[in-house]
């Protein structure tokens, strides 16, 4: 029973973690809570349904399911990255030097816009994922693990690994870390800060797209408001681990997923969504900089 909940929690946590990475990366560089990030995840879920529906109508799904799924994933990631990129250019870049509240409000505006845009174009009712994967799975230490769960855990683990390697082993990753530390100094040593910020948004949106696809296939239902609550929880995960810190976001996401699924099973499922905030408040009171975050002194 407990182990079963741990597996469920890990699945959920993996999804939260990869959304949280998008928040934490943007926060690390721009110090901006990108409220619209959850909406990118929602758009990813919708796009997956739209594209897969299209492929099913074309007969591609019947011919080769894996090919259809791979194409759907690629197209969804491309489109979501484009959304992330555009969002930054339109709503945040003009406000780069504005007071702190301005980009935050702008982000909330983008979030409201995207939610309502999807509601108006796709309808307010639940959308069903065209492909069911069923309960097929395998036994692991007396616990049922569906293939889909295993897939989600594996994919999110791999994505985190790749991202870690990208940040620490590549030139671009180094430039990103430099930009996060000090934008002006990074610009002085020849880093194109604007393009680094764009890349950050593109990677974050791409990850959110993957999360969206996984959730759409896992639950089978999506709605236009899933982005809000998932976004808030992912942000909580990012804060939990220490915002601006990528391994922290991963850890925070997994902790959140575990707490949520065990809490729903053992305490009360009605308050499922509240656990995230309760842990958040508790963590912030004990260690305001998050689990892995560094405390920063306020400078005059």
């Amino acid at each position: 029973m407990l182990l079963q909940q741990l597996i469920n929690g890990l699945t959920l946590g993996g999804v939260y973690a990869i959304i949280a990475i998008g928040y934490t990366m943007v926060y690390g560089i721009l110090e901006l809570i990108n409220f619209a990030h959850g909406e990118i995840y929602m758009l990813g879920a919708y796009l997956a349904i739209i594209f897969l529906g299209l492929f099913t109508a074309m007969g591609l799904t019947a011919a080769s399911l894996p090919l259809a799924l791979i194409l759907t994933t690629i197209l969804t990631i491309i489109f979501c990255s484009a959304y992330g990129f555009t969002m930054e250019k339109v709503a945040y870049k003009p406000l780069r030097n504005a007071p702190r509240l301005s980009p935050l409000i702008s982000a909330i505006g983008v979030s409201i816009f995207l939610q309502n845009y999807v509601m108006l174009t796709q309808g307010a009712t639940d959308k069903v994922f065209p492909q069911r994967f069923g309960e097929a799975g395998f036994q692991f230490m007396n616990v049922n693990v569906t293939y889909l769960q295993a897939m989600i855990i594996l994919v999110s683990g791999l994505l985190m690994l790749f991202l870690h390697l990208f940040i620490h082993k590549t030139r671009m990753g180094k430039a990103m870390r430099a930009t996060a530390q000090d934008k002006t100094m990074a610009a002085l040593v020849g880093i194109n800060v604007d393009s680094i910020i764009s890349v950050t948004f593109i990677i974050g949106a791409g990850l959110a797209a993957v999360a969206g696809i996984m959730v759409a296939s896992y639950y089978g239902l999506v709605n236009y408001f899933i982005g809000y609550i998932a976004g808030i929880k992912a942000f909580t995960a990012a804060v939990l681990g220490g915002i601006g810190n990528i391994p922290g976001a991963m850890l925070g996401g997994i902790i959140l997923g575990l707490v949520e699924s065990t809490g729903a099973a053992y305490i009360s499922s009605e308050y499922k969504d509240a656990y995230a905030f309760i842990i958040l408040i508790v963590i912030l009171l004990i260690k305001p900089s998050g689990i892995l975050g560094k405390t920063t002194e306020e400078k005059v």
């Binding site: 926060y27 110090e31 809570i33 919708y46 796009l47 739209i50 594209f51 489109f79 484009a82 959304y83 555009t86 339109v90 709503a91 003009p94 406000l95 504005a98 007071p99 702190r100 509240l101 301005s102 980009p103 935050l104 409000i105 702008s106 909330i108 505006g109 983008v110 979030s111 409201i112 816009f113 995207l114 939610q115 309502n116 845009y117 999807v118 108006l120 174009t121 796709q122 809000y228 808030i232 942000f235 909580t236 804060v239 915002i243 009605e270 308050y271 969504d273 509240a274 995230a276 905030f277 309760i278 958040l280 408040i281 912030l284 009171l285 305001p288 306020e298 005059v300």
Partner: protein, 385 residues
Amino acid sequence: MRQSRRAEEQKSRNLNVRILLRYCATALFAALLFLPFKGLKAAGIMFICILTLLSVVSLLKKTKIIDAIKAIHIPEIGRFRTFFIPVLLIASAALPFILKDYYIDVIIMSGIYILLALGLNIIVGFTGLLNLGFAAFYAIGAYTYAILNTKIGLGFWASLPISASFAALAGLLLAIPALRLRGDYLAIVTLGFGEIVRLVLNNWDSLTNGPNGITGISRPLLMGFSLAQLQYYYYLVFVIVIFAVVVIKRVESSRIGRAWIAIKENEIAASSMGINTTKYKLYAFTFGTFWAGIAGILFSAKMQFVSPESFTFMESILILSMIILGGIGNTYGAIIGAFILVLLPEMLREVQLYRMLILGIGLVLLMIFRPQGIVGGVKGVHFRS
């Protein structure tokens, strides 16, 4: 000489073509974004729209209209108060005789939102503490009266101080731990608090009747005389709003108000001037949420029905949008912002479906083109981490 001019003309023409091509590329990119959700035809329309938009914007940039929009200066309303305020008061007092019930209803709602905006403005506008869960305090005020009235039959006037102080107490209890946090963390904790309150209201069936809400809340009585009729209720809200504005204006210009603004401008400087920043932040939270409690009781007495639906995150954002639209940190701005954001959707009934869409775009455009709001906020307003 002539040749060089021709070459220059040629060059500028080339530049224009290049710019046009760039716009085409941008518009094509933007139109493609709409492709999966709206289909080919809509994407084509978007392409044309965005292309025109880009050209218009570039023309605007040349004529410096954008700078002009940013620089429009609305003179400090306070300067005209000897003229404006009496006129405004008389006009508002006469309204119920002129308007239809429907409009009175709308104006009562805007009065309630004015109270909310005034309260949030104390926290966000004066003191600079971002609060994204303000609807929670509004909910606490509303539910306190709803429960007291339906369970033990307590009247409006007895509940008024209880509701307000419950909301203020909740504000204080949240602020004590939360104020240890810096800017964005505080925002997210208040947001979490808002969600927790909504979830509790939704799930504590025995007390709050869950998602169905509480019905049969009574309208206030004044000395045995029912204020159930809209006109009378209008005057009640009117008097309370006037009272709130006067009190808040007085506090704003008092020692406490000045301390709040000092904290917003620079917390470290304020504390080195001997201001007990924690204490004044607590005052701001308590005082701001107090008004949310009053707005809450007015709301539940007016609707005679409360449900968790009315106190979502969007509600908090709406209130925040009001003070930003009006001009953050400006009491009159908060009033104007609340008034506009309640009235506008009512006027745009035909495009009901699109109003949230418009609000979203509006917020982004407002931030880009006129971040100080309509009236223009207090000078030097900015948020620090």
